[in-house]
Symmetry: D2
Subunit: 292 residues, 4 copies
């Protein structure tokens, strides 16, 4: 199944990610009945990066409800994930919560009325709750590295600020943003954390089901940046990827799946991870679009 020899290119714009051995692959699945299956490097930690946007979106929706959408759109993006151009065309309103600009605005919204440390604590507390695991932590070196070199994110944050769509100073928001992107998780932890989006969390609904439905819809149309249409076509499962090589996929009512392989395709999504999900989806007919 995973004989693929082309493993893609490890993200190298973040020093810590560039040093990772691309010959790794892990997968973990949590089923509705509480069972868990894991293969490969499912207990190796990796940087979840953009997958963290799912958790901050959940927190922002829980806090603001539909008012959240005043600042961020719901349309797919056809530009690269860190496009400032798209933000300028859209007058400072990010296309959706999963492009970097949208996620930065989300983080900004979570900072209202709280110190950055408190907001970060709230985010990590929520992720730990979703995963039923108190061991999940943030890798401070990754956060520091991104803060120093993530100039496109700085560019986006200042653009948002200049457009009146950032309530705090870029420095404050990005510090929080880079930290929550730097959460380290294993496939097992990530699959566990995805249960709340599949509606199979043992503690019931952590956020209202209507908001879970929204997040799943957004993962389908926008979860893989400008490769989202391709992913929907090939895999057909709501999912969110990160440049660390992780993908969190959600089968509503059935299962939560996490895959990880650090080599990326041209859109910045895990090459082997995508392939694995495609094979799995076809073999077990998991696509929400399938009729057979």
């Amino acid at each position: 199944m995973l004989s693929a020899t082309d493993r893609g290119k490890v993200a190298d714009y973040i020093a810590q990610l560039g040093a990772i051995d691309p010959n790794q692959f892990g997968m973990s699945i949590c089923l509705a009945n509480g069972q868990s299956l894991s293969i490969g490097d499912a207990t190796t930690e990796f940087s979840i990066q953009s997958i963290s946007k799912v958790f901050t979106l959940a927190l922002a929706l829980r806090r603001y409800g539909d008012r959240y959408w005043d600042r961020v759109g719901r349309e797919p993006s056809t530009n690269v994930f860190n496009s400032v151009q798209e933000l300028e065309v859209r007058d400072g309103i990010p296309a959706n919560p999963f492009v970097n600009a949208g996620a930065i605005a989300t983080t900004d919204s979570l900072l209202v009325g709280a110190e950055p440390k408190e907001t970060l604590a709230e985010i990590i507390r929520f992720v730990r709750m979703t995963a039923s695991d108190e061991e999940i932590f943030i890798d401070p070196d990754v956060a520091k590295s991104e803060k120093a070199t993530g100039h496109r994110n700085w560019s986006l944050a200042h653009f948002l600020r200049g457009s009146g769509n950032l309530l705090h100073e870029p420095d404050l928001v990005l510090d929080t943003y880079f930290h929550h992107c730097a959460m380290a998780m294993t496939c097992e932890q990530l699959a566990m954390s995805g249960r709340f989006l599949a509606g199979i969390h043992p503690e019931g609904n952590l956020i209202p089901p209507s908001q879970v439905r929204s997040i799943n819809a957004l993962m389908m149309t926008s979860g893989h940046y400008d490769g989202s249409g391709e992913f929907a076509y090939r895999v057909g499962i709501p999912a969110k990827s990160g440049v660390g090589g992780g993908i969190l996929a959600v089968l509503p009512g059935q299962a939560s799946i996490a895959v990880w392989s650090p080599g990326l395709n041209a859109h910045g999504n895990s090459l082997l991870g995508t392939k694995a999900l495609e094979l799995l989806s076809k073999a077990l007919n998991l696509s929400v679009f399938a009729i057979d």
Copy 2:
């Protein structure tokens, strides 16, 4: 349920559509068990327009398989449905089969090895088979009117031709294109025709299930032009709209739904039709993204 007073604006760039009374609404549902339900103006004929793109895509996929995708992309569009700009940015490769440029290329592919009349006959024969109804026909006046005034489509066709992505002369392709867009159907007929995409057609699979899955995925990410993200978020059902006010929605394995109301929203999709599907989806938990 349908007390909405704002009924949107009837498409008026096609004379015949502009004359239609916006105070009409119909819906029809075909279930897996063969049952059918209809309400309102479900037996009134309307111009299916872009919904015809679903049928020509099915024919092209059946004929060419994956080779079809050499000429057309699979990504959502963030531009208006008849955008030439998008085509220029993408070097003559339409974003997906449901923007006008993509559908024109699809029609072109169906003309290979056949006279236009034969191709049109093949399309109408296929639609009649999907609907189990020999009464479905093309309204020649609508086709004629579009051919005379559809300058943006002419612009797209010439652009495709200039980019080497149109095998026949624009005149030939557009004549066929405008004719299949001018098919007149009722909600009842359209719901019947959608059964092959829901996998509930009495004659079994008219095209391979893997191709049905592809079409459903594309309807989810691109079925409502630059309002596709919004539709996925609000309704969460694969669906294709047309400027005639019709929408064909597909619940894989369960049902085919057709709604019609001629007033359109800003994206060119039926305003009441979208609202009706949203209410239905929420009331019955039909979204493929729902967990409850």
Copy 3:
């Protein structure tokens, strides 16, 4: 001076132009005192193509005055000369009279109240008058070839028509447009014809001096498509190029210069012609921006 070995690429999208020997170069200069100088292939006819846009603009300004600018802008273009994208971004108002869309709109304006043949006759009559030469004619084969293969121009014309910025059917306008672009002239004839823009025509001002000033300004900012900034920087003389390899340059009050060499640079302007004008401008300090 002309030892340059890289002669650029002959335009090959028009069959007749693609067949021309790139090893040709001619130049002709008309001075204020009535003197004329010619070197090289200055009596060989070539297709003036986009240089004809200068003459149609002159006619349109003479007829409509400032009302002409209701339909066409005055800003440089940063897109390729036949960009439909730019037209869509600008809502159907061409950036300037020298991009194809602008010139098509200009031709359309000249068709008001006249048969196409009369309009063509008016254009050729005007060109002959500027050149004091009754021998200038249109090459019907070039016009016919462009009409059959110039799909980008058809795309532009239909876009203009769809935007309400074309008063006649695309077929009618383009027939006239392709014909006036197909005028054949020699360097000697072209330099003669440019005298009215230099203010040195023996019969005095053929159009008001204020309109000549406007045309010269537009040639400076937009005469070489998206290579106009480069031309202003290197040469510094108002000039208009054509894909046939000709360039008409105007030194207000002093001289009219025509160069021709069929090989083109990446922007579609004569490679050797541009180089020759650059050398001439520097040697004789002809740039309007020069202080020495």
Copy 4:
């Protein structure tokens, strides 16, 4: 001549500029013979803002020659002056030295091998030399205000840095940039400083004439942002504007003209200043494109 009642809108994104009385107008002209003429508020200081880009460009050309153009283009811009979109489309190479991104890159190039304070001192020394006036200074409050609120410039600087087209940290470059933009000058001082571009400076050529020609050409095609085509058409004189309401115009070999009126038009150029130059140009036939 200046009865115009619509005086435009004062730039209000910089607090200090927003407080300025729009009912002010000054003009000063330096002629080749050493004579000077002034009218109106010609001795009132204003913030020269983007006009400072002319001086930094002169310094960068003097230091780097043609190597300067490796980092910055020479084409007009059709986007707003602080467009990040344009920079993304052009892969991090600014369109020209007069859009903000280009000027930031220019400032960055002047910082090589020097402390920011030394670079600022070099710039102010050069401006004082051009104006033969040691009294010209920088308004630190304006610089400070821009540094705090100029988020679009921060966005541009980070984008450049992320594209590898900024050699120093954004903070360092912008600090220098905002300071040289905050130079305060009167019309009289500005007209004096423009003499080196008109080739009429009493101390001879401060930079090589070929570089002056380049700067004048760039002022013509790009000196008024996306209103440059309009300015060339109406006025026809190489000129550079700033959002402080100043315009420096150069008649090669003849004169240097400075106008100031703080109300701006839609493109961010002085409304009355532009009108005054247009009237002057037409009355005295100053356009470099004029034949009469």
